[in-house]
């Protein structure tokens, strides 16, 4: 399940839903990304996140389908926020439940890495002295390519 939303999300409720996926579930891996005080710029006070509605959902559905074909994925949940976000707010949640821990970890990490380089989101850092569109990192591209 995929949600792109301006509202905050509740990881506890998401975890509970993943946990309720049946007696064969042995492993739940989750990842949450938060707004940090330093990115491309230091003294970051917040972020603005833009996305391409429609295409974003389509891309993420494709990523979940790919993860499900490569690993045992009993349920996958992705939430990505857009709009204005303050320091320490939650940006993104990826949760995967599986029979086995290796699959849960791999699928969760693959989804996060692929999300960073494939899903049409753009991040702008906001500081007291101005704004700045974040540049794509070579390290993110390398991490995503490593799954191919």
């Amino acid at each position: 399940m995929i949600s792109i939303q301006t509202e905050d999300f509740d990881p506890a409720a998401e975890y509970q839903r993943l946990r309720d996926s049946g007696a064969g579930t042995g492993a739940i891996a989750t990842f949450a990304g938060l707004v940090r005080d330093s990115g491309d710029l230091s003294d970051v006070e917040g972020l603005y996140l833009e996305h391409y509605p429609g295409m974003t959902e389509q891309v993420i559905e494709g990523l979940i389908a790919e993860a499900s074909s490569r690993w045992d994925v009993r349920r996958a949940r992705i939430i990505h926020r857009v709009g204005r976000l303050a320091l320490q707010e939650q940006i993104v949640f990826v949760g995967v439940c599986s029979a086995h821990r290796s699959d849960a970890f791999a699928a969760c990490q693959f989804l996060m890495d692929a999300l960073k380089t494939s899903a049409p989101f753009w991040k702008k850092e906001i500081t007291a002295s101005g704004e700045h569109w974040v540049e794509q990192k070579n390290s993110d591209v390398a991490r995503s390519d490593a799954w191919k």
């Binding site: 391409y52 049409p120 989101f121 569109w133 794509q136």
Partner: protein
């Protein structure tokens, strides 16, 4: 948008620097996304970056596309910087 035009959308830094969210162009037989970028770059100013060194990502009908992808009437073409979500 009518059936004989193509919708062009811009996102993020490109949207801001071109000061344009969306525009429409007439459809032409054999038109590619590369040809659209070339003709838009001729507008000068910030538009020249569409053929500059910074990579421009391309989507046609919300699927990633290449410079050689052909575009038909009714299609939605999007140009944007490399993505930075997550």
């Amino acid at each position: 948008m009518t059936a004989d035009t193509i919708t062009i959308r811009f996102f993020a830094r490109l949207r801001e620097e071109l000061n344009t969210e969306q525009l429409t162009l007439p459809a032409q037989p054999g038109l590619t996304t590369g040809a659209i970028l070339a003709s838009l770059a001729e507008r000068g100013g910030a538009w020249t970056q569409l053929q500059g060194e910074q990579p421009v990502m391309i989507a046609v009908n919300q699927t990633m596309a290449k410079l050689s992808t052909e575009v038909r009437a009714g299609d939605e073409v999007a140009f944007f910087p490399p993505v930075t979500g997550g």
